[in-house]
Symmetry: C2
Subunit: 416 residues, 2 copies
């Protein structure tokens, strides 16, 4: 039997900018953790890294050739080669133990330690080798083709700064100075609270009036993109006690999908207010006007409307920047932006922020949809979105607009 | 005791463009595999996906409100409200089993199935409810606030095309039509063959003449970025029998780091030629001129010089595009490119392609390094690279050049 219900709209809606300002003031990077080097790509350094060793730690050969005393080669040329006595070989990791004296040479491979006494390397290409002798056909100056101690990195150098998003080569450099587990900013742990008695888990086929949960699939991919770490989750029934328990997860961010508006089965807003604070509920935007933002303990809580486009939109406006920022990344849109002209006008309303899905056709921006919060296919057909700020009542055909692209894919059409 | 050695340079070097052309002609996307939906973000669809169901599969309410026969509300206004008899409630997944006849209404939540007989929804905001009656203060036309069967996706629609790199919302859409395991192009399996008696595994501290393997760390991160899947690996001693075994890995791509030039301990080129074909060895480029390209069985083999910048450079020119292309992605540079002017000239030589590490300072491109194949820190300090094509003997100060950025990080300095 249906319980007693209160059905009402939102008394008042907040401006998008106010919610954004609130969130950016309240959010800061999390603490740090040690991360195994080969899992550090894309992670954000929590502290400056200072080299405790020189790289290289020994003078090394930059070429395959012969380690010599440079002065011994002075005057050598193709017409007038010099001959040195070959003492042996130095390989990477396998030094020549003797000493290069006047008139001698040691065969060296690239990366091999330069033997004692030698100060330069003659390239193999200008040498010949026969009967224990090396014929040198070119003079080399001292230090030539020798990689000196610390030429790459000097002990004491600050090699990477806190806040750096680690690239492949950064990891290589950290390896080379002997760092095993760099201190990175912790990934935000994100709890998904997905409610709805009508929902079947992703991977099911829709069945009669039961639909498949698509929001958790979208959210997991977005959280991953933004550097967050989704905790295991299950679809919850619309029962306050179950939702309450889920809201109290040990997480940095709680994303509530569904049951977040002001209707009969919308328990989450009341529960968030009870357990912590519900700072905003109802935002002047289209779609996702029923979005909400709150806090339970240290966790930021986002009420994302159940309609999939609204869910995506509220995530991108509010949750995404928060998760990125907690993880030490910039709050800004994580994909490329392009400026192009509008092929058709966009209508909006002063006082409301619109999230318009757009396609890019022949270098122009074609609005696909502003309303239709349940039409997920609009976001699939779109190349990106255009935000119509609340001060505007729309944007005319031909206006240059900024498109926030949905991915990084190089697209011929949008290349300048 | 050192064995007999042949020390020689490259007799002839190939042009970068020829190697690139060879590779692009020989490479095509791999076969497909089923992938669990929540692991599909960023994966490439192998086939078109056609919806086998309508979404929604039933008429649903787009609002919280009351399901009515639209015509019953005609004439209703705030001044002259109409009253309907409230029959019950429909919730998402929990339909109202009766029928809406003339003069009646059913309370509906967003997403709830529209009851039989009803054809429109009046928003809760313009209604009141008391004593089993609903007061309606606004007329609604039939179909208003009703999401019709198939309004998002129609059964039979091709919703996503083969070759699509799946985004978060695409996964949501696939979930909503009941797809559990989309067919994606298989990720290239990449075997790393890292050789060098001087190498300590990443995570070690450099020790005397032993250095830490940084190349595998760089390569693993790059392969991951490019959609490949690195197989487990270990550092191999410079012993031909061990290298031979590793080269014959069951992989789509073999990356050989170190031991790939023409020196004494460089076994890989000969082994590749024996086991398959060594199509190129030695390329007119700086750095990484000892790079090589071959094939063993179906696997593409890349000889990457041991110096870390050379390794990175040869990967980016040859291996990266191949791995991306096998995985169904574009061969092109995977990060953003920007066009900016040169703050200082770059010197090069006609006939050689240069990979110049550059910084971006005050909106201008500052060359950091062209040579110095062992100076990994140059790639860490750089924002990206500039390619000097072999037809050029350099680029003058002020010239507009294209910078291939090393990451996607939004940088104030390079925003237009």
């Amino acid at each position: 039997m249906p319980r007693d219900v209160r059905m009402r709209g939102f008394a008042e809606r907040a401006d998008v900018e106010d919610v954004e300002r609130f969130l950016s003031q309240r959010t800061s990077p999390l603490t740090s953790e040690s991360v195994v080097l080969h899992e550090c790509a894309g992670r954000v350094l929590a502290v400056d890294v200072c080299a405790e060793v020189d790289v290289p730690g020994f003078d090394r050969s930059a070429m395959d050739g012969y380690a010599v005393r440079g002065e011994d080669t002075f005057g050598a040329s193709a017409y007038d080669p010099l001959t040195l006595k070959l003492l042996g070989t130095a390989l990477p990791g396998e030094p020549f133990e003797g000493r290069v004296e006047a008139g001698t040479a040691v065969r060296v491979m690239t990366g091999a330690p330069i033997p004692q006494g030698a100060d330069a390397v003659v390239m193999a290409e200008v040498c010949g080798e026969r009967d224990g002798q090396v014929e040198v056909r070119e003079a080399v100056a001292p230090r030539r083709h020798v990689g000196a101690v610390g030429e790459d990195i000097r002990r004491g150098d600050v090699v990477l700064l806190a806040g750096r998003r680690l690239r492949a080569q950064d990891l290589g450099l950290l390896a080379s100075i002997g760092v095993a587990t760099p201190l990175c900013i912790r990934r935000p742990r994100v709890a998904l609270v997905v409610t709805g008695d009508e929902l079947l888990p992703a991977g099911s086929r829709p069945d009669g009036v039961r639909i498949v949960d698509s929001n958790s699939v979208i959210l997991r991919a977005l959280v991953d993109r933004d550097g967050g770490d989704c905790l295991p989750f299950e679809i919850l029934p619309d029962r306050p006690e179950r939702i309450r328990e889920a809201l109290m997860a040990d997480a940095d961010v709680v994303l509530v999908s569904g049951g977040s508006s002001v209707g009969q089965e919308d328990h989450a807003p009341r529960l968030v207010a009870e357990l912590g604070s519900l700072d905003f509920h109802g935002v002047s935007m289209r779609p996702s006007s029923p979005a909400g933002v709150g806090r339970i303990g240290d966790a930021a809580v986002f009420l994302l409307p159940g309609n999939p486009v609204s869910c995506l939109c509220a995530y991108e406006f509010f949750a995404g920047p928060t998760i990125r920022s907690m993880g030490g990344r910039p709050r800004t849109w994580p994909h490329r932006r392009v400026r192009l002209s509008l092929a058709r006008k966009i209508s909006s309303a002063v006082g409301r922020t619109d999230y318009v899905r757009v396609a890019i056709e022949q270098g122009r921006v074609v609005p696909i949809a502003t309303s239709g919060a349940s039409i997920l296919s609009s976001t699939v057909r779109a190349s990106g979105c255009v935000i119509v700020e609340r001060s505007l009542e729309g944007m005319p055909e031909g206006a240059e607009v900024e498109v926030l692209l949905y991915d990084e894919e190089p697209t011929e059409e949008i290349s300048p």
